[in-house]
């Protein structure tokens, strides 16, 4: 009964979470897997194409404006290739995407992909900080919960991590701003740095922390850290729920095995058995979990960036949604999909590389 409960924790991820990578433990050859990835990517393109064509808004009107003449309208209509059959349109879309042409942004007039590459570092910086916080928190709490299974620390951890999973993240962000910025004044407010620092540091990598170190401007660096800490903590907390749960179930799997008993009988302290034996054996599984959690952070990032006026990918996506720039929106969606597939693939590869049993 005990074992079955444990297995259920692992095999049955909570709603909305990525499926447990345990499913991925099979020994498909790499070639077949790459084929699968190819098919999924193709499906992704079909999906974004269909969503893009589904919209009620008129893409031609968005470009030529309301009072364009009939001729101009017709011309742009043909330029966009909308007069061709839908199949041909799809192949043109496919060709464009494969050659890196994602179209122009209606708002800025620049290639969409260029805009996105410009805002992406801000999000990566935020998400990376968040995953470091989330993984540290999640792994620690997960181990504590597993070691104290069915005792009060376990219940406490369960409620704490479910809280993080249940909070509407945009609301947590606002309450955080209200408390820690407006009331206590411990952290910086919205944006990536104090507004009077903007433009002081050269944009080399796009990662503000790195750029400010390159420029040697420590004031900007600390301002950036100050602004990063709150949104990253909130994102990290919300992603830690999943990591906690999986760590707990992995640890329980290990703790019930005989080599742990052997280690204890040999006279090792419980701390040594847990951290030196059991924990070392779940490292590989943890890496894959954290990789997947990193992907789901993007979802939270969309909302948290809106709250914190963080000039990143999420804000770019939502602001373009509201003005109906479908080129930009669909490229964003495509990129998120690709990142997800890539993370899945990477976590799969890591498993293969680090776990000798999969060879």
């Amino acid at each position: 009964m005990r074992r079955s409960k444990i297995a259920r924790w692992g095999l049955f991820p909570a709603a909305g979470e990525a499926p447990a990578p345990r499913r991925k433990l099979n020994l498909r050859p790499i070639g077949a897997q790459l084929f699968t990835v190819g098919v999924t990517l193709f499906g992704l393109l079909v999906l974004t194409f269909v969503i893009g064509r589904m919209m009620p808004a008129d893409p031609v009107r968005a470009i030529v404006g309301e009072d364009a003449t009939r001729e101009t309208y017709e011309m742009v209509f043909r330029q966009l290739g909308l007069d061709r059959p839908i199949w041909e349109q799809f192949f043109i879309y496919l060709r464009d995407v494969l050659t890196g042409n994602f179209g122009l942004s209606i708002r800025t007039g620049q290639p969409v992909i260029q805009d996105i590459l410009h805002v992406l570092p801000a999000t990566i910086e935020l998400a990376t900080f968040a995953i470091i916080i989330g993984a540290t928190l999640g792994v620690t709490l997960g181990v504590i919960a597993a070691v104290n299974k069915d005792r009060w620390p376990d219940h406490l951890v369960r409620v704490f991590s479910l809280m993080g999973h249940s909070m509407p993240i945009f609301w947590t962000g606002m309450i955080g701003l209200l408390l820690f910025y407006a009331y206590f004044g411990w952290v910086g407010g919205s944006g990536r740095m104090e507004s009077f620092y903007i433009g002081l540091v050269d944009d080399v990598t796009g990662f503000l922390l790195i750029d400010s170190i390159i420029a040697g401007d420590w004031e900007v660096f600390w301002s950036a850290v100050n602004h990063l800490i709150l949104p990253a903590s909130i994102l990290g907390y919300s992603s830690s729920a999943y990591i906690t749960r999986m760590t707990r179930s992995f640890m329980l799997d290990q703790i019930n095995q005989e080599y742990i008993t052997t280690a204890r009988v040999k006279g090792l302290s419980s701390r040594q058995t847990i951290w030196r034996h059991a924990f070392l054996n779940i490292r590989v599984q943890l890496v894959t979990i954290v990789a997947l959690a990193y992907g789901s952070l993007l979802e939270g990032a969309v909302l948290i960036e809106t709250v914190f006026a963080w000039p990143g990918f999420g804000q770019y996506l939502t602001s373009n949604l509201l003005i109906g720039d479908m080129n930009a929106v669909m490229t964003c969606v495509l990129i998120v999909g690709v990142i997800f597939i890539a993370l899945n693939l990477i976590s799969d590869m890591l498993y293969r590389i680090f776990d000798p049993r999969t060879r």
Binding site: S4, K5, A7, R8, W9, L11, F12, A14, A15, G16, P19, R23, T40, G43, L44, L47, T48, I51, G52, M54, M55, P56, A57, R158, V159, L162, M163, H165, S166, M167, P168, I169, F170, W171, T172, M174, I175, L177, L178, A182, S296, L298, E299, V302, L303, T306, V307, L317, T318, L321, L322, G324, M326, V329, M330, C332, V333, V336, G337, F340
Partner: protein, 294 residues
């Protein structure tokens, strides 16, 4: 005959439900979840009697009133009573959950059972499609659908439903694979039952309990996604008392009037926490049969 065999192997549905509820009430956390959800349903049903004010009635003499006095949770920027708006908002939340569930359940069941039972190429293609939907975070895909359909509560519901059927389909397929070679299915086939009939009469009823549970587990995510869409202005439109939209409207006045965003947020938190706690308990209450899901 077939139906009898199938029926005798499962206890009466009401009995099963009662057993689950009894199991859940034993654990304090899932009991809390059940109670909050019960309160939510009662408040939604009795909204006109519980609410102290009209949720849409503006009172420009009394804008941004702090909690207390005539207004339990204070008033918003148009002088509307926040408590009453939250009370009426329960109806919107329940509507979203209900509509998403009745769309997602049948779609997931249909895709999962047919592809599990028929198998072969059909199965491969259907599962590939499912995987494509699963390769997006649900909020991002919902955003894309709402962007294409135009922002409104109905479109938000459609978008959420479109993004949340794949896990159900996967589950139904996994269940189907365990039943398809069962003796009672073979008996039905030997009697000459058509594929459609076997799926509908022999397989779907067996998948139903676990699918229903999975839908319940999914409700917390549905609530959070709907609130997120509402917050971004892509879900329920003002002046509807949807909690996410209320938070979005209150954001501008947040620094001076904390109650505008605090109370709707607590409402969302409570309901989604309740569903998560309930789901956690349900997971423990499941019988071992449920373990071989994918």
């Amino acid at each position: 005959m077939t139906a009898q065999i199938a029926k005798s192997s499962i206890p009466g549905p009401m009995q099963a439900l009662w057993n689950i509820v009894r199991f859940l009430l034993k654990s304090p956390t899932s009991a809390f979840g059940l109670i909050v959800i019960a309160v939510l349903v009662i408040v939604a049903l009795l909204a006109p009697w519980i609410a102290t004010h009209d949720p849409y009635a503006q009172d420009l003499q009394n804008v941004l009133q702090a909690p207390g006095g005539a207004h339990l949770f204070g008033t918003d920027e148009l002088g509307r009573d926040i408590f009453s708006r939250i009370v009426w908002g329960t109806r919107i939340t329940l509507t979203i959950i209900f509509l998403v569930s009745i769309v997602v359940g049948p779609i997931g069941l249909a895709v999962g059972t047919t592809s599990g039972y028929i198998g072969g190429k059909f199965d491969t293609v259907m599962m590939r499609i499912t995987d494509i939907f699963l390769s997006f975070p649900s909020l991002i895909l919902s955003l894309a659908f709402v962007a294409a359909l135009g922002p409104s509560l109905n479109n938000a519901i459609i978008a959420i439903a479109l993004t949340s059927w794949p896990p159900i389909a996967r589950l139904a397929r996994a269940e189907t694979l365990t039943f398809r070679s069962a003796d009672y299915v073979a008996a039905a086939r030997l009697q000459g039952a058509s594929t459609g009939r076997i799926i509908f009469k022999s397989i779907v009823p067996m998948c139903l309990p676990s699918v229903l549970i999975r839908i319940t587990l999914n409700m917390a995510t549905v609530i959070l996604t709907a609130a997120g869409l509402g917050f971004l202005g892509l879900g329920a439109q003002p002046p509807m008392p949807e909690w996410g939209a209320m938070i979005a409207m209150g954001r501008r006045y947040m620094i001076d009037s904390w109650w505008l965003v605090t109370f709707p947020g607590i409402a969302i938190l409570c309901v989604s926490l309740a569903f998560n706690l309930l789901g956690d308990g349900l997971r423990d209450a499941l019988d071992p049969k449920q373990m071989n899901r994918k």
